[in-house]
Symmetry: C2
């Protein structure tokens, strides 16, 4: 699997790649992870598009984390299910991508930039500054004051985790990996504290960090 | 079932009651609906709490829409499933209650007040004005300008419905009834337009209005 890497090639931070790393571990599948940088479009041209994760399984090449997760479910049905049959998982995906990710990005975009390889930094700065209409430095100004806002955004997640062990129910599913990917992205790239230790979301994240033999906990990141 | 009613006793507007009305129709269960008003706490005291819906089924009394839906699933498993086994339905519930409901209320609270029975109006005004720290009239000032905000809030729902027929997948489930309850609450109490006719959410709402022999479409409300 091609996997987004930082200046430190062992820093693998993409929230979309983390979904699949966790999903592969969930299914007990061993995969080789190849570092990839934003500017290396040529390297994954064979996949017909320009983003990671890209999974190669035998003669199959699959891009896009959602497509990969569906591929894993249909190709390895005898292995533990990612629990994607119910339509609400799609809502979790879009809530994460259109509500949670943008809010995290507005807090951490400069930290993310600073952990990228020198080749990726100008590309990242240019595309993100264009998207925000602000410099990266301007985006993160007074980020501490925006913490109550993200706490409020996390309310439905917090309430859900106060009623059940995982977003997916009694056992983790792809929904959990989708949302966890966002927090792991943050943890890999920044020491800025988003979750308080007494938050039930923090406790859930802790379970996610430790599962699959501490796969996410042992990743290069910040000890938050 | 005890069901919240307006000044017109046939105007049944509670989003929580609508979830259950739709769920009962989904299961093909016929139920008598008894009108109830906010101030009639005594009438439902036997249920051990003070809110509707309250369902009486033989010797069983069940309050709270979530508890009722679970009761229906476990008591009538041979009838069409509400598809509540997956944990993500809980997230949909909390997203609806903590994100969507408050935003709709801020647009429609005065219309809701105006459609309540004269006995309920002072209770409703007092409790809601206390909650907002504003008069009802102040809450809805410039509501037209807040429409882009609710459109943005609806993004994850819109994106999901662009990928699949229902929130719950290929067929409707309790998730759909939870979110639909919010729109039906609005439709029963106000002619204020929240959804545009070209919005995929509008098209989904149209399917919801028409299902179960037009149960929701034929309800007393506004033709929006």
């Amino acid at each position: 699997m091609y996997d987004l890497a930082g200046a430190d090639e062992n820093r693998r931070f993409s929230p979309y790649c983390w979904r699949i790393r966790m999903a592969l571990a969930h299914k007990g599948l061993e995969v080789e992870y190849l570092p990839w940088h934003f500017v290396e479009k040529d390297k994954i041209k064979f996949s017909g598009q320009g983003k990671v994760p890209v999974l190669i399984d035998g003669s199959n090449t699959i891009a896009d984390s959602w497509e990969i997760s569906k591929y894993l479910e249909s190709t390895y049905p005898e292995r533990p299910s990612l629990k994607m049959d119910n339509g609400e998982v799609m809502f979790i995906k879009f809530w994460t991508e259109t509500v949670l990710h943008p809010e995290i990005l507005k807090l951490l975009v400069l930290d993310i930039h600073d952990n990228l390889s020198p080749e990726d930094q100008p590309y990242f700065r240019e595309t993100r500054e264009k998207r925000f209409g602000l410099t990266l430095e301007q985006v993160v100004v007074n980020r501490q004051e925006r913490l109550p806002r993200i706490q409020k955004i996390l309310t439905p997640l917090r309430s859900t985790l106060s009623k059940q062990k995982y977003l997916s129910g009694e056992t983790p599913g792809f929904s959990d990996y989708i949302v966890f990917g966002a927090f792991q992205w943050a943890r890999c790239m920044s020491g800025f504290l988003i979750l308080n230790a007494d938050d039930i979301i923090y406790k859930w994240r802790d379970k996610m960090l430790n599962m699959h033999e501490g796969l996410a906990l042992s990743a290069v990141g910040y000890p938050i």
